[in-house]
Homo-oligomer: 417 residues x 2
C-alpha cells in the first residue's frame, strides 16, 4: 500500500539543494522498493531573495516563518540543515515535541546536545537521526547502532576531518608547505577562509564525541578530549615520516582501557601498512576495534553536498520505513562510565625530531635503554627517530634527558598496523 | 516493555557455537538497549554425540528432529547454519511458510535461490536475512539495503575470498610459491583440504551474485560471470607486479555500463594506491561506486567463527526490533535489467608477461601505437609491461601481434586507483 511522507527542510544551502536533487533523482526507485512517496512540503529560508528560481525549478514552497512548518500537523519529518546551535536547537526541540521525526547534519549541535535531544525524541516517541553529522557519506552511525549493538567496541581510530587530511596529503605528496597547502585547500573549496575549526582539531573532536556516544554510550565534553591541531607539522616532519615508512595524519582516537576511556585528536605518524593509510585528500576513514568482530574499517567521502545529502536521505528513508511501526528505531542512551581520563599505563611509540644535538644519538639512546625503530642522524645538527613502547612516564623522562643534549622540535605518537 | 524472543538454531558447528557464546556475552547489553531478551529454545544436531557437553555448558536443548523446531509455534526466528543447498533450502522454506523469520549464513544457497526464498518470505510477511553470507564480518548487505537505497550504484569491486587473498599476500610478501602458499593457508585453517571452491573463484562468484542482487536488483547465474582462478599466478608475476607498483588480488567486479552489467572474478594487478590495496591476508574489502556517494569502501574480517556469528546476531537483532512492526524490513526484488553481457567498449589496462621475445619490445609496442605504463625487458628472454587503455578488440589484436614475436605467459587486467 502506497504511503505519502511529507518532509519540511530548514535551510536551502548546498546540502539542502543536494537533498532536493537526490530525492528527485531517486523518487521512482524509492517508490518501487519501499512503496513510499516523498514530497517536500515546505522549505524554510532566511529570505526569498535568490531562492525563487531554485524554488520554481523544483516546485518548492518557501517560507520565512519556521512555525508554518513546526505547527503544520501534516508534516512527518523535519530536516534541519541551517547549522549553528541556537535556532537549530530550539526548532528541533519544538519539532520533536510536536511529534515530528527529525533528521539533521548538524555536528556541533549533536556533539554538544545530542543526549538531551535524544531524550526529548524518546519522550515524544519519535526518531532523531544524524548520520550526516559524522564523516559525511560513510554510514558509520547507522552501522554502530545496528551491526555493533551486540559487540563490545574497544577502540576507534578515525580520519574525520577532510580539510586537514587534504592539506596533509598535499604536503606529503607534493612537498607543499603548511601555508601553501592551506591555500590549495581553500582554493579547492575544502577549507574555509577561517580554517581554525578544522586545523585546530575541533571539528574532528566534535565528530569523535558523537562516535563515542554511540560506541560507548558515554557523553564526553570537549575538555575530556586531548586536542592538538596540525599547525606544527612541517615539511621536515613529512620528509622524515616518509623515510621511516609513515604518513602524518590528524587522527581522532578513543580507547577503552579497563573501564576508562582515553580520547584524543592529534597528528600522528601512521604506518603505511595501516588500513587508514589509504585515506587520502578529502576522504574520511573510520576503523573500529571490537571484541567479536576484530578490526573493521569504513572509508568514504567526508563531506560534499551530494554524499552529505545522501546520508540525510538514508536517514529519512529509515525513519519513513519505521513510521508505521509507531516505535522509533532504538537509539543508544548514555551510561555511567567514569569520566574520560588519561590512563598512566598507556604505552605508545613516539616520533622525535631533534636539532642541535650534541651527542651521538644512537649511542645515547642505547645507554638510556630506549628501543628505537629507526634513527636518522646524518650529523649533529638534526636527527629523527621513533622510540618504541614508552609509557607516558617513560616518554616524559626521555624528553627530560633529550632536552639536556638537544633541542626537541617535534614529538608525535606513532600508530603501527 | 520487555519482550522475549525465541530462537532455534539449525546446526552446532563453529559459527553456531560462536553465536551461542556471543549471544551470551551480549545478553545484558542487548536487553539494556533494546528491551529484548533472547533465548535459544532448541538446537538441531545430526547426532547428540560430542554435543552433550557443549549443550550442558550453555543449557541448550538439543534435538535431532527438525520438525520439533519448524512446527513449534513459540519459535520466532530460525537460524540456519548447517550449510549445503538441499536440506537447508527445504527447511528454510518450511520455516518461512510457518511464519518464522529466518537468518542464514549460507552463501551457496542464497546465491542460487535467494530470489525464490525472498519471494516466499514476502508472501509470508516475514524476514529472510543473510548478512553473514558475504564478507563475514562486514555489514555490506545491510548497508546496501539501507544507505544505498536512494543512490544509483554503478560498480562494485570486492576482495571477497579470504583464502585466496591470504595465499596471494603470502606469495607477495614472503615470496612463497603457489603450492607453498596453499599449504600455509591450509595449516592456518584458511583453506580446506580441497581448495577448488576458493582458488577457482567460485566462492567469490557466489558472493558477487548476492551483492549484485542487492545492488542492481538483478539475478545473475554463475554462467553470467567470467570466472578465472588464481592457479596461473607465479612468483614471477608477483615480482613484476611489485616492480611496477601493484599487488595481485583476486578481484570480484561488476560494472554497470549503460543498461548492461559486466561481472567477473579474476586475478588482477591492483595499484598500491587503490583503497583495496590495504586488504591483506584473510581480510575482505568491498568498494562501492555510486552516483551520489562517489567511492565508499568497507573493510573487515571475511570469515572466522566470531565475526560470522556476530553478523548473524546483528541480523537476529534487526529482525527482533522489527517484529512488533508486523512488517518485515523491505528487501530488494529482482528487476528486468537485460542479461549480463560483455560490453565491447569496455576499456582497461592489461599486464602482459612474455618470454622468448625476438624483438626490442619498446620499439615494437611504439610502432603498434600501444601506450605502455612500464616496460621491464632486461633481455630477449623475458619482458613484462602494462598496456594502457585497450578495448577488448584492441587487446585481442595486440595478443595476435605479440604471439608472432614472443610467447605470452600471462595476461591480467590492471586496476588503477
Amino acid at each position: 500500500m502506497e504511503k505519502q511522507v511529507k518532509i519540511a527542510v530548514l535551510g536551502l544551502g548546498v546540502v539542502a539543494s543536494g537533498l532536493v536533487e537526490n530525492l528527485n533523482a531517486a523518487k521512482e526507485k524509492i517508490k518501487q522498493q519501499t512503496n513510499l512517496t516523498f514530497s517536500i512540503a515546505k522549505v524554510l529560508v532566511r529570505s526569498r531573495e535568490n531562492k525563487e528560481e531554485q524554488a520554481k525549478k523544483h516546485q518548492l514552497t518557501l517560507t520565512t516563518d519556521v512555525n508554518e512548518i513546526l505547527d503544520d500537523p501534516t508534516i512527518d519529518i523535519v530536516v534541519e540543515l541551517i547549522g549553528g546551535t541556537d535556532a537549530a536547537k530550539k526548532w528541533i526541540i519544538k519539532a520533536l515535541k510536536q511529534k515530528k521525526h527529525v533528521v539533521t547534519a548538524n555536528k556541533d549541535l549533536i556533539a554538544q546536545f545530542g543526549n538531551e535531544l535524544t531524550s526529548i525524541a524518546k519522550q515524544s516517541n519519535v526518531s532523531l537521526f544524524y548520520e550526516a553529522s559524522v564523516a559525511g557519506g560513510i554510514p558509520i552511525l547507522h552501522t554502530l547502532n545496528n551491526s555493533f549493538i551486540a559487540d563490545e567496541i574497544t577502540g576507534i581510530k578515525g580520519i574525520l576531518n577532510g580539510t586537514t587530511n587534504f592539506m596533509l596529503t598535499q604536503m606529503a605528496e607534493l612537498g607543499l608547505s603548511y601555508d601553501k597547502a592551506l591555500q590549495t585547500a581553500q582554493a579547492a573549496g575544502f577549507a574555509e577562509a577561517n580554517p581554525t575549526n578544522d586545523v585546530d582539531g575541533w571539528d574532528a573532536a566534535y565528530k569523535l564525541m558523537i562516535l563515542v556516544r554511540l560506541a560507548f554510550a558515554k557523553d564526553l565534553a570537549l575538555k575530556d578530549i586531548k586536542i592538538v591541531g596540525i599547525q606544527s607539522i612541517t615539511q621536515k616532519d613529512n620528509d622524515y615520516a616518509q623515510k621511516l615508512g609513515y604518513q602524518i595524519k590528524l587522527l581522532a582516537q578513543v580507547k577503552k582501557i579497563e573501564e576508562h576511556l582515553y580520547a584524543e585528536v592529534a597528528p600522528v605518524l601512521l604506518s603505511n601498512t595501516h588500513p587508514l593509510a589509504v585515506v587520502k585528500n578529502e576522504m574520511n576513514g573510520i576503523l573500529i576495534e571490537s571484541k567479536a568482530m576484530g578490526t573493521s574499517m569504513f572509508y568514504g567521502p567526508g563531506a560534499g553536498a551530494s554524499p552529505t545529502a545522501q546520508s540525510v536521505l538514508a536517514d529519512i528513508l529509515a525513519i519513513a520505513q519505521n513510521m508505521t511501526n509507531k516505535q522509533p528505531v532504538p537509539q543508544m542512551s548514555v551510561s555511567n562510565l567514569p569520566n574520560c581520563e588519561i590512563h598512566e599505563e598507556v604505552v605508545s611509540d613516539y616520533y622525535f625530531l631533534l636539532s642541535d644535538c650534541t651527542v651521538d644519538l644512537a649511542n645515547f639512546l642505547e645507554k638510556q635503554e630506549v628501543k628505537t625503530l629507526s634513527l636518522s642522524q646524518t650529523d649533529l645538527i638534526e636527527a629523527a627517530f621513533v622510540a618504541k613502547q614508552l609509557t607516558i612516564k617513560q616518554k616524559d623522562w626521555l624528553i627530560e634527558q633529550l632536552q639536556q643534549v638537544s633541542h626537541i622540535k617535534q614529538i608525535l605518537s606513532v600508530v603501527e598496523e
